[in-house]
């Protein structure tokens, strides 16, 4: 994964409130949405 593309994708998900980007970490707020993207059972 290129860093730029990853950051862009993370920011898109942050805008949707699926996660929150913090210093030193990422807080997953909507795991069900991520499961849909990942093709896993939500």
């Amino acid at each position: 994964m290129s860093r730029e593309s990853t950051n862009k994708q993370l920011r898109m998900w942050e805008d949707k409130k699926w996660l929150r980007l913090e210093r030193g970490g990422v807080v997953v707020l909507a795991p069900d949405r991520l499961k849909e993207i990942a093709g896993e059972e939500a």
Binding site: M1, R3, N7, Q9, V26, L34, G39
Partner: protein, 184 residues
């Protein structure tokens, strides 16, 4: 001041060692020593001699590598009750990745010269170790498959879900202690 570990109690409660007989636990406890590592400190570097096996008694350890360009790749987060450092320990080759304490850690350390004879003499111990190695191999195979077959959003979502499944959830969500740079 941290309390000294009751090594036998830690080993009895440990998923890898817990099912072993009292005699084996006693042998392991006699060999093992504990080590405190503050958050952010390296435990070993890629290429170091693999002379020890580590069991996490408290804290989280990050297993990762850095490219020459400074890009990080995080392979695993090792939590309480898990072990790391087993690959180089078993094959006697240099470390394949670096290990860094992600939080303050208490580790139990067993040296190769003590551990390998134990594995040879205790088939149950060897089987448990093989289970750990199989788990690592499955995870690595899945990662390779993901890199080849999946697009970025799917891969990123899978990575975040996997990391969050290994973190403690709170009412505010599940914090994955990994930077954007390390994910990418």
């Amino acid at each position: 001041m941290p309390q000294p570990f009751d090594k036998r109690a830690v080993l009895r409660d440990h998923p890898l060692f817990g099912g072993l007989g009292a005699g084996v636990i006693d042998r392991l406890a006699a060999y093992a020593h504990t080590k405190s590592v503050p958050a952010g400190s390296p435990i070993f570097a890629k290429g170091d001699p693999g002379t020890s096996l580590f069991a996490v008694c408290s804290g989280t350890v990050k297993i990762s590598n850095q490219s020459h360009g400074g890009k990080d790749a995080v392979f695993n987060l090792i939590n309480v009750g898990e072990i790391f450092g087993e690959i180089a320990l078993l094959d006697g080759q240099p470390r394949t990745a670096e290990a860094i304490a992600l939080s303050d850690c208490e580790l139990m350390v067993i040296d190769r010269r003590d551990f390998v004879p134990l594995v040879k003499s205790e088939p149950e111990m060897a089987l448990k170790l093989i289970e750990v190695l199989c788990g690592r191999l499955r995870r690595t195979s899945e990662q390779v498959e993901d890199v080849i077959f999946l697009d970025l959003p799917t891969r990123l979502a899978k990575t975040l879900l996997w990391l969050s499944s290994r973190a403690k959830p709170s009412s505010q969500g599940t914090k994955v202690t990994i930077t954007q740079r390390e994910i990418g």
